[in-house]
Chain length 179, copies 2
């Protein structure tokens, strides 16, 4: 198997990015706890962050995280030609969102390289493509990666804009630098 | 050459995304022209857009576009092991930014698949990595693609937040859907 293949350019990078996203949410949760006022119900500030939007008619943070995980599990399942795990989309706390990310990462890790590498020609038809389809390669390069990083970036920007102490490195995650 | 290789997962997707970015700037320019007041100097509104930021201590639109193109030309040159084209970073108008994008796309198109495919082990050391390096594969998957899409998404969000009539499809560009 070539080192660069449809598995290696999708699944490990998305796992890494989802773990970075989980770290961003963790930092937000601590920041939000620090802003809680004594008379507020528990986690009121965290709830406000989860409902925050960058732009009024764009999805809030909670939905950005749901979509990023949907992109990831959908891609792994579609490329491997197995069933897409169904989630209820009912997360209300950072703890629940982190559990969703963890569940998604576990699913991604359960898919083996040989289930996805070589799937360039698998036919992928998303609901809202009106009966049309992309092949596996075009799906990954034209749709999946630009879309996945769009939602992780938007989640990052919502936190960043609201004062959570994060920087680009928290979005990127650690680089495997060598001497 | 395998269909999925270090060239095919980087250069054509970045060309497509840069062309989409050029389209976004075009729409912004028209929108800005429509907001011009009679007493303002020419292109005053467009200039305001180019200096707009999503977050006070984040780069403005003009710099987001410069960085996205830097990512693209830097990646093409580093992977192909040729000299990185130098730009002056002095763009002041959408016309100039679109010319920068066009120049970048032309450079990307001048690099041949066989110059990049198979470059998984080329050593890449960015200035701010303190003498450390990534190999070509880790550079593409851990650094280039997440970073490139970060800056294109941020450029999109700056325009979107400021009322330019754009949607996700303008960011993604056309999908090569088939019946």
């Amino acid at each position: 198997m070539e080192r660069t293949n449809l598995y290696s350019v999708t699944i490990p990078p998305m796992i890494k990015s989802l773990e970075a996203l989980s770290g961003l949410l963790e930092k937000m949760s601590k920041h939000a706890d620090g802003k809680q006022l004594t008379w507020q119900p528990p986690k009121a500030q965290e709830e406000a962050f989860l409902q925050s939007r960058l732009i009024a008619d764009q999805f809030p943070l909670v939905r950005q995280v749901q979509i990023a995980t949907d992109n990831a599990k959908g891609a792994a399942a579609r490329l491997a030609e197995i069933e897409i795990p169904k989630y209820e989309d009912n997360e209300k706390t950072v703890e629940e969102l982190k559990a969703r990310i963890e569940k998604t990462v576990a699913f991604l890790k359960s898919v083996k390289p040989e289930q996805i590498a070589g799937k360039e020609n698998v036919k992928i038809a998303l609901q809202y493509w009106g009966g049309k389809s992309l092949d596996g390669f075009d799906y990954v390069t034209n749709y999946l990666l630009p879309n996945f990083y769009f939602h992780v970036t938007t989640a990052y920007s919502i936190l960043r804009k609201n004062g959570v102490e994060i920087g680009k490195g928290d979005y990127m995650g650690p680089l495997p630098l060598k001497d």
